[in-house]
């Protein structure tokens, strides 16, 4: 598995648990879960892009 896929799997698992435990109705759970998932993946990609420009070698 590549690193991006692992991040997506991780984001999915955490989003499901946060969605189920963080909201009371099914609709709110789905929307909250999707929001957390999008934030995980979006921020992960943004950080990855920022790190790409750092001279780490």
């Amino acid at each position: 598995m590549n690193h991006f896929l692992l991040m997506v799997v991780f984001a999915f698992a955490v989003s499901v648990v946060f969605g189920v435990t963080g909201r009371e109705t099914t609709r709110a759970r789905i929307f909250y879960g999707l929001k957390v998932f999008a934030e995980f993946v979006g921020i992960g990609l943004a950080l990855g892009w920022l790190l790409y420009w750092l001279p780490l070698r």
Binding site: M1, L6, V16, V17, V20, T21
Partner: protein, 136 residues
Amino acid sequence: MAETEAGAVQVGGMAWLAGLLAWLVPGVGHLLLGRVGRGLLLAGVVYGLYFVGLLLGGHLYGLHNVDEAGLLAYVFGFCDLGTGLVYLVSLWGNIGIVEQASRATAEYGNVFLMVAGLLNYLLALDAFDIAVRRKI
């Protein structure tokens, strides 16, 4: 559960049982409380993270590797302990004990294992809250 005049919640044995079972076997606390779909979904997520973590080369922390990891072994071990019985069985069966630092995904595996435990602590608290009717 019963609510007193002051609004404080009296916690019954069922709530403690649900919380304890939810920690020991992920999902079972919710199943006990009649949340079958939720229990199966959450069990799938926690066990999925745990077994993917092992497949990635992650290893379990605990009292057995205090020498190599120092005090962090207690912190990481507490995280891993969150998965309950499967963690204890893994230690007993020497599964996920050997560190596989040479594998590129070993650190991912460690994180998956620890987060599985932390999420299950959250689910145990969720089951407890459902049992005392703080949540639906």
